[in-house]
């Protein structure tokens, strides 16, 4: 039982997960789950109570029981007491103050990271303002490598997302070429297939592999099919670069995705065996998003942001190349409007970086959410300021397969220009060698004789 007083009213919270949920800035998904504070004042009382809790509480009280959840097991079995001992005297509030202080830099955060659990990070994020989430995340550089180097300070990358409603190979290729001419695609060229079967996904992979080889593009590809499909593709010697999977923060959520930690380990081992990276071997690609646990009726009374942070414990076990939250995709019953989507994106990016993940963001919304392109422009600027590793690049923001709006190729040029950011170094060199980008990072019109312009005509 946790107690707190605000404005002469006494509040009690029956357990840690209830306290966490009630301390969370309001969002529709927690309301749908019946977990939100009953009033603004109760929310602040919960935040005050949470801020006064020692971080060590999170090592004593599990939000989801160890016996029934393999992610709780993973979190506790891999927790490093020695790293934690350096901050073990902190309360959650003191942890926030410490993270924001001048002396806390990347090196110190790296040192204590093995002592952090996702629940501790989620807790501190709940009492942080948006600017705090931006400032602390911007201190952290998480660099990963496969065929290029993603996440360096001063760099900003994109996943080129050339989806097509029927997986038409020429249609996909047309969008890829468009994106490359706009300097997109350094994080990955990643396709959500309309059909998740072997023949179809293999055909897309082969096309991507051929395109990347023919034009010596220093990037990696991914077909975002189910893990089990990718494993079969690897078995059939298809050219798999990054292995994709959606993951959640509870065992039951992952059950609903048809995966578990053992299967992820098998996929990781299969990836290790093929060694297709040239500058590094980070080859897992994970997508997450607040609300997936509630949507699968698998949240066990834990708020959606804390469930999300727990998914990052799953991700960090497998040294991923890329992780992104698909923040606004899930719809208004989980994140109602631009304000809630923005807050969730900042939380996810902060929590991911604190957990040591190469965090990107699908800055996106659906047409039934109370959000529009201006909300996404705002969030894009915030993500640039926070040092996000990558965003999506979709032709004209309009994903014609998934029917939602993400960031466009133009948006990537905008954010690079505003924050003086460059693509991944290998990819930048490639763009410059082609004459598509000048030394100031400004995109140039391609020479009409360039073979890529002829690629689909031949």
């Amino acid at each position: 039982m946790y107690r707190s007083t605000s404005g002469h009213i006494n509040y009690t919270f029956k357990d840690l997960k209830t306290l966490m949920a009630k301390a969370t800035p309001f969002r529709s998904g927690d309301a749908l789950a019946g977990l939100v504070a009953d009033s603004h004042q109760e929310r602040v009382a919960a935040q005050i109570c949470l801020a006064n809790l020692p971080l060590s509480v999170f090592l004593q009280e599990m939000l989801i029981p160890y016996e029934t959840d393999e992610i709780t097991q993973l979190i506790f079995d891999t927790h490093d007491q020695k790293s934690f001992s350096q901050i073990s005297s902190f309360t959650v509030g003191e942890f926030r103050d410490w993270l924001l202080s001048e002396q806390t830099d990347q090196a110190v955060i790296d040192m204590i990271r093995p002592g952090l659990t996702p629940e501790m990070i989620a807790a501190v994020s709940k009492i942080m303002r948006n600017q705090d989430l931006i400032l602390v995340a911007s201190k952290i550089e998480i660099v990963t490598r496969f065929r290029n180097t993603i996440g360096l300070k001063g760099r900003f990358s994109t996943r080129l997302q050339p989806n097509h409603p029927t997986d038409d190979l020429k249609g996909i290729a047309a969008s890829i070429i468009d994106g490359l001419f706009y300097g997109n695609g350094d994080a990955v060229i990643g396709i959500n297939p309309a059909k998740d079967d072997i023949q179809n996904t293999a055909a897309i992979l082969n096309m991507l592999n051929e395109l990347i080889s023919r034009f010596s593009i220093p990037t990696q590809s991914s077909v975002l099919c189910h893990l089990t499909t990718t494993l079969q593709l690897i078995e059939k010697k298809a050219p798999v670069d990054l292995i994709f999977q959606s993951i959640g923060g509870t065992q039951k959520t992952n059950d609903s995705f048809g995966i578990n930690l053992k299967m992820l380990q098998e996929a990781y081992d299969a990836g290790l065996s093929i060694q297709r990276g040239t500058v590094g071997q980070n080859f897992m690609y994970f997508e997450t998003g607040q609300g997936s646990s509630l949507s699968a009726n698998a949240h066990s009374g834990v708020d959606q942001q804390t469930c999300e942070a727990r998914a990052y414990a799953v991700a960090r076990k497998f040294n991923p190349m890329l992780v992104n939250s698909v923040v606004g995709f899930i719809g208004p019953e989980y994140l109602y409007d631009g304000k809630q989507i923005t807050r969730a994106a900042l939380e996810d990016h902060f929590c991911g970086k604190m957990m040591g993940l190469p965090m990107g963001m699908d800055i996106c919304y659906t047409n039934h959410a109370e959000a529009d392109a201006n909300d996404m422009d705002n969030l894009l600027v915030l993500m640039g300021a926070a040092g996000c590793n990558f965003i999506m690049g979709v032709p004209g923001t309009d994903d014609i397969m998934l029917n939602y709006q993400s960031t466009s190729f133009h948006d990537a040029m905008f954010v690079r220009k505003m924050f003086h950011l460059k693509p991944a170094p290998e990819f930048e060199n490639w763009l410059m060698d082609n004459g598509w980008m000048d030394e100031k990072g400004i995109m140039q019109l391609p020479n009409t004789a360039h073979p890529m312009l002829q690629y689909l005509q031949s």
Partner: protein, 253 residues
């Protein structure tokens, strides 16, 4: 005179391969005024399709002309905002609507019941429900399948077809529903089929044909596919993933 500065893209020819918004050109690194306005227009159409009036009466009139009885029903949802925030309420009929069905005092069971709901795009069902139902009814009648009165439901989610199907004692419950509107398709209709409908069924127990619209899946083809699934579902006593798998095994043989 200052020169206008929109750069066109040399690869506009690639637009023949995809409906994606490629080769848009740019001014500096930004989209041209024309492109911004066309995106705004598409977004406006998608937004309006969600809040558009579900024209139940006109659909009812058309169905009566096809000599088909109609029930006008509501989910437990009171308005569109609640519809968006409370999917659980959109999956259940309101008490008055349950009474409407019970009062009809239908004794017999049916092979098929058909429902229509606005869902997330009233535009979709306002214009596509009737042509689709026309094709589907013909095939169902030709196959001697019995059809329950058609239910038109305001603010329904897919799973409301479970409750309706069980109240009407139907073997298969079919629902036509407005899909989440995309920027390039604000009028997409989805059709979901559930074998042995009962409250609490989950999505893997359903079969679906989506993207039904002009320029998408044609009405007649969609109706044929739903008819084949319906007939197979009744014949094999199964639905959803099980049905899909057993049909694809048959296809491969």
């Amino acid at each position: 005179m200052i020169e206008k500065k929109i750069s066109k893209d040399a690869w506009e020819i690639l637009r023949q391969y995809t409906d994606a918004r490629i080769a848009l050109g740019r001014t500096g690194s930004s989209l041209s005024t024309q492109n911004i306005l066309s995106l705004n227009e598409a977004h406006a159409q998608a937004r309006d399709s969600i809040y558009k009036h579900f024209d139940k009466n006109s659909i009812e009139q058309s169905l009566l002309q096809l000599h088909h009885e109609v029930f006008l029903l509501n989910s437990k949802v009171r308005d569109k905002k609640e519809f968006l925030l409370r999917p659980d309420l959109g999956r259940r009929l309101c008490d008055d609507s349950i009474t409407v069905i019970q009062k009809a005092n239908i004794k017999k069971a049916f092979d098929v019941c058909i429902s229509v709901s606005d869902g997330l795009s009233a535009t979709a069902v306002n214009s596509h429900a009737i042509p689709f139902i026309g094709h589907l009814l013909k095939k169902l009648i030709d196959a001697n399948l019995s059809i329950a009165p058609i239910c038109l439901i305001e603010n329904g989610r897919v799973a409301i077809s479970d409750e309706i199907g069980s109240l009407l004692k139907a073997k298969v419950s079919i629902i036509l529903i407005g899909e989440r509107p995309g920027l390039s398709s604000s009028d997409s209709m989805g059709v979901y089929l559930t074998y042995h409908p009962k409250v609490g069924n989950t999505d893997e127990q359903r079969n679906c044909v989506s993207n039904i619209r002009l320029g998408g899946m044609p009405f007649e083809e969609a109706a044929r596919e739903i008819f084949i699934l319906t007939a197979a579902s009744i014949r094999l006593n199964m639905g959803g993933t099980l049905l899909k798998n057993s049909l694809s095994i048959t296809d491969n043989q």
